[in-house]
Symmetry: C2
Subunit: 350 residues, 2 copies
DNA sequence: GGCAGTATTGCATTCGGATGCAATTTGGAG
DNA sequence: CTCCAAATTGCATCCGAATGCAATACTGCC
């Protein structure tokens, strides 16, 4: 039996329990349902009721318990956002923007950060236990994990990755297209030998970028291509450049790094250790368009991801699918924005 | 009346509801409490029981509902992490590390991102509604907000900010100490006129850094100090440098920027626009020790925050207080790590 | 003033799992 | 083979808010 007439009880230690809707109801002399209704949007409650309840509520410092509400409504109003820890300066921005988009729409973000893109297992378990309403992920799930999530009828939106053989929604920047542009420009400016610095093997983004570049190079009939791999970080960018020169026998005409940070590493290594002028002796390009790429000392030629539009789009897509689960998957690809920086010799822009 | 004997029901559309502990119990032919116990750590259940339940559980794809559990245990196993959106490259790292620390200990992170450090109001309301077990914040709360949180008996740990007149726990890097070191070194190397580039007015960190520098300069008897203010971003770093030169009439001997990113902005502006050699003509220092500060083109003299230890410490501190609410507040201050980069003329290290 | 129609309000139940207590089983010692 | 303590298991109840339905209170209109 409930004891709704008791005022918020105090334990022996004098600390009071958080007020519940029953406490408020008792103080206001109304029913618990009335309190519940006052704290909802479209519920019917008279003005008088509203006032009495609100008065009692702030006297007690009452606020609805989102946990209890979630239990009965079957909606947690939380989405899982999954990121991986990359040394990538680009994700933080994405994360903050996403969180703000969701907040604006009354949805909370439960954050999961992976050490590597490949350890998704535990995370899936947790997401499901917390009954998140949706998942926005910047890491790839295995087909099995994906199936598990879908069995639970939780909509998923992939950020900057997608799956050709699976019906999933995704928002991405067209990595291949971006790389093709970079390659075209470099080739048009007369570069003939290329170095490619790829990212971690488990990064889908890195793979797409590499393939984009390689395919376009092949189509242009360029075969002098050397590849080395790093981890998206500055230090490996430097190491990779040295490795590249060694592997190729001499510095190539141009280096295509899988992201801006590694491109910056390459530029530093080229200048400091090899005494090369950038872009005089060698052209170096990146991808992402992160903050440091704009620093005057580097001014990296790159492809900028339209982060604002992408996050906006990803958040809406997920929220739409939460509202309407029948909605079929949709893949949106945004073109990157070419940035003709000073780190590469390019043909004059038309 | 419950209907524990029904198998997971299907709606007309054929989609099944998520399995509950009752479903599992029914399938395994045991009681719901038994299922509950099998999915707990220290609960007593025989081996036979465990097996039967587990078998039924995976057949149904059952996983405990953390929301329901939270309701009865009065523990959400979630903490709120509050960050503000600064153009500061340093926070992302902090965020990822914190999230990992908490995850390791079975605690989920509910993320709140503020547009500016000062709009904390809404966020407090949300945290309380979700009944988070603790709050870790890299933004300042008003005394009233703080009181609200404490009335709810939710432990709070401040990250890189604290309050002298309030009993709160905090983990911080000693900003003042760091600035004093920077000033001492610069003065020892003969710099006599200073420019200070501070951050946003609502950033506690910025204020502490500025005061640290000003106090030490005053103690050293240096009065030629010009101050301008930015927003922690690269662009304003550049603008601030120009402004500084204009305000001072000529470039000062040294510039102390409130963070590395602005220091980098200053370096670029000094070199590109004013044709100054860094550190030949002018010394420029920052704070934080973020990634780009290490880039060869800048090699910023700075004070690095021991992020790893700080996040580790902050997470433990909060978790301890969640376990044991009686624990009194504690303030931990970590010394920054001096980084003698090439962006400033310094006395030879002893 | 009376009545139909609408807006409020309360009642009782529900969401899914945890837990104190009592009943039952198991294990071990003698 | 007994008997007692310890380990298992089930029962009943609780956590806090939402909601369908029925009861009641207003509203406007004639």
């Amino acid at each position: 039996m409930n004891k709704p007439t008791k005022t918020p009880e105090k334990t022996a230690k004098g600390e009071r329990k958080r007020a519940t809707s029953y406490d408020v109801a008792a103080l206001a002399g109304v029913s618990q349902s009335a309190v519940s209704r006052v704290f909802q949007d479209g519920a019917s409650a008279s003005k008088a009721m509203r006032e009495r309840v609100m008065a009692a509520a702030d006297k007690l410092g009452y606020r609805p318990n989102a946990i209890a509400r979630g239990l009965i409504t079957q909606r947690s109003n939380m989405v899982a956002v999954v990121i991986s820890k990359l040394t990538n300066l680009y994700y933080p921005e994405v994360l903050v923007q996403l969180t703000q988009r969701f907040s604006e729409r009354g949805v909370r973000v439960l954050l999961f950060a992976l050490e590597r893109e490949s350890d998704t297992g535990l995370v899936v378990e947790q997401m499901l236990q917390y009954r998140v309403d949706g998942v926005l992920t910047a890491a790839m799930f295995t087909p099995e994990e994906l199936r598990t999530i879908e069995n639970a009828h939780i909509p998923v939106v992939f950020y900057n990755r997608t799956s050709k053989d699976q019906l999933v929604s995704s928002v991405r920047c067209d990595q291949e297209e971006g790389e093709r542009w970079l390659v075209d420009e470099l080739v048009a400016a007369g570069h003939r030998s290329f170095g490619i610095v790829e990212g971690p093997a488990d990064s889908v983004v890195s793979i797409e970028r590499k393939m984009g570049a390689l395919n376009e190079l092949a189509e242009k009939g360029i075969t002098d291509v050397t590849t080395v791999s790093g981890d998206f970080g500055y230090e490996t960018g430097r190491r990779c450049f040295a490795e590249l020169v060694q592997k190729h026998g001499s510095p190539p005409d141009a280096v295509i790094a899988a992201n801006d940070v590694m491109a910056i590493g390459c530029i530093d290594e080229a200048r400091e250790v090899f005494g090369l002028a950038v872009p005089g002796d060698i052209s170096i390009v990146g991808f992402d368009g992160v903050g440091p790429a704009r620093y005057a000392a580097y001014d990296v030629t790159t492809v900028r991801q339209p982060v604002q539009r992408m996050t906006e789009s990803a958040a809406s897509m997920l929220l739409e699918r939460i509202e309407n689960p029948e909605l079929s998957p949709e893949k949106r690809a945004f073109s990157g924005i070419p940035v003709r920086g000073g780190s590469a010799r390019l043909p004059a822009a038309k």
